[in-house]
Subunit: 103 residues, 3 copies
């Protein structure tokens, strides 16, 4: 199973992307959590509230999800990280039923 | 080191599972965090509060932990995802001391 | 891309470590999130609030980051876990610009 993550700067944007990804069957489920991000932007140290989205999907749907996400995301250069995890068989089956494998 | 995750729909269930896993020495530590899950259930788009449990354990204890978790979990098909991470030597040693390797 | 995690027992310590890691260019960005940890300490079952730090950096900077972290961290044996994730090209480029590769 593939687990992909991005971040946005409002809970509304997080909810909008999460709902759209599930509705488009690009991910079986999306989890949203509140975080604080520390980074440097244009030479200045910054800290701000963000919302992390965690997408659970099939490895074969990751490219379509990434392409959709970059078009829909409010940032120019969004965080986009993908890892592979082992899933329990029943859970993997549920994910496979949710995700549109023709994407 | 193995890192496994599941989700439940109440903080009480999260605490109960976390405590039981540590008490049974199936995991060295369990972290709980609040999330919002977006998914489709029986054709309907749903969003709801959940609590994610993150179990830190030894690779050789993952099967026993998964078996116990599926018996103890309130859902029919719980999320169950496992990934491998590299641990600092002193932290890996602490985990090895906490987990019962005969499980 | 490398993703490393630790935990501390106050939001002030989390902020201090996150800011210092970014300032030292050991990580491109650090995310902080509130969690509850369940574990056994000296034979007693414990649960307490902690803050998780998630460092995004280059694989070649992980050793320097780990060495710095262990010197700066308030715990004797901090959690230190590192995993590898695949990054989108533009995001990987941004991280590479933030992290000092001579570290």
């Amino acid at each position: 199973m593939a687990v992909a993550t991005t971040t946005v700067d409002s809970p509304e944007a997080a909810q909008r992307l999460a709902q759209a990804a599930v509705q488009a069957r690009l991910a079986a489920c999306v989890q949203v959590e509140a975080i604080t991000s520390h980074y440097v932007w244009q030479g200045q140290q910054e800290a701000g509230a963000e919302w992390r989205l965690v997408f659970k999907t099939l490895p074969q749907a990751v490219d379509a999800l990434a392409q959709w996400l970059h078009a829909a995301h409010p940032y120019d250069v969004p965080q986009w990280l993908v890892r592979t995890e082992q899933a329990a068989p029943a859970y993997a089956e549920w994910v496979a039923q949710q995700v549109d494998m023709k994407k």
